[in-house]
Symmetry: C2
DNA sequence: GCAACATGCAACCAAACGGTTGCATGTCAA
DNA sequence: TTGACATGCAACCGTTTGGTTGCATGTTGC
């Protein structure tokens, strides 16, 4: 959970997830094309995403294929964001009531 | 957007949001009770949350009241997480296939 | 008015972060 | 087999981050 939030905090890593979203199962080399940094830097980002369980990798010969795992993001939504989301409706309701009361 | 992700990356800040979720409109002093750090550190965290527009503050006399703003989190869900969520089923299918291919 | 209280501001510090360079390892293809 | 290719590993480095301490400012209530 903590790892997922940390992983999502970086723009480059979100970009990588975006690319995998567009085309799943890309190699390290392919993913490097999208980011303006060295391969080693991209490796580090991918390692972090993998340790957060946001991407899963499979080795194929000398290549390493990267697959997106959307479950942790779903988890975050269910356990964390949904809670606040739920309150949003309540907050809007409260606001509506406050305005109505004011108009009386 | 970037600011929101960065703000959510820290456990203490998520804890603060949680506390505001439980009881909205708390003062700095009250929020300090929940975290094991100095008031100044909490101030910094709240400033970051405020600059990410996740909390809104109102001054009342010598106190500062903190209110949760759930809209940015909703934004993240709508623009970012929802996209991955949608793909979830498809991605699981792809992953399953990739693993099967590997086992051959 | 003044003492206690709630918060603000700034300098400082260690650790984590995001990136680099250099080199090693493993795999494919001719 | 050997050279090119895809990736792995480790040391290093500037900047950001999360926290501290010390002091300043504004507000309340007696």
């Amino acid at each position: 959970m903590e790892a997922v939030f940390k992983a999502l905090a970086d723009k480059s890593r979100r970009e990588l997830l975006d690319q995998l979203h567009k085309s799943n199962g890309q190699t390290l080399g392919e993913l490097c094309d999208y980011l303006d940094m060295t391969r080693q830097a991209v490796t580090k980002h991918l390692a972090l995403l993998e340790s957060a369980n946001l991407v899963v990798t499979v080795k194929r010969g000398r290549e390493k294929l990267h697959y997106l795992n959307p479950l942790p993001i779903n988890e975050i939504y269910m356990r964390w964001i949904g809670k606040f989301e739920q309150q949003r409706v309540q907050a809007l309701h409260n606001l509506k009531q406050a305005i109505e009361e004011k108009n009386e």
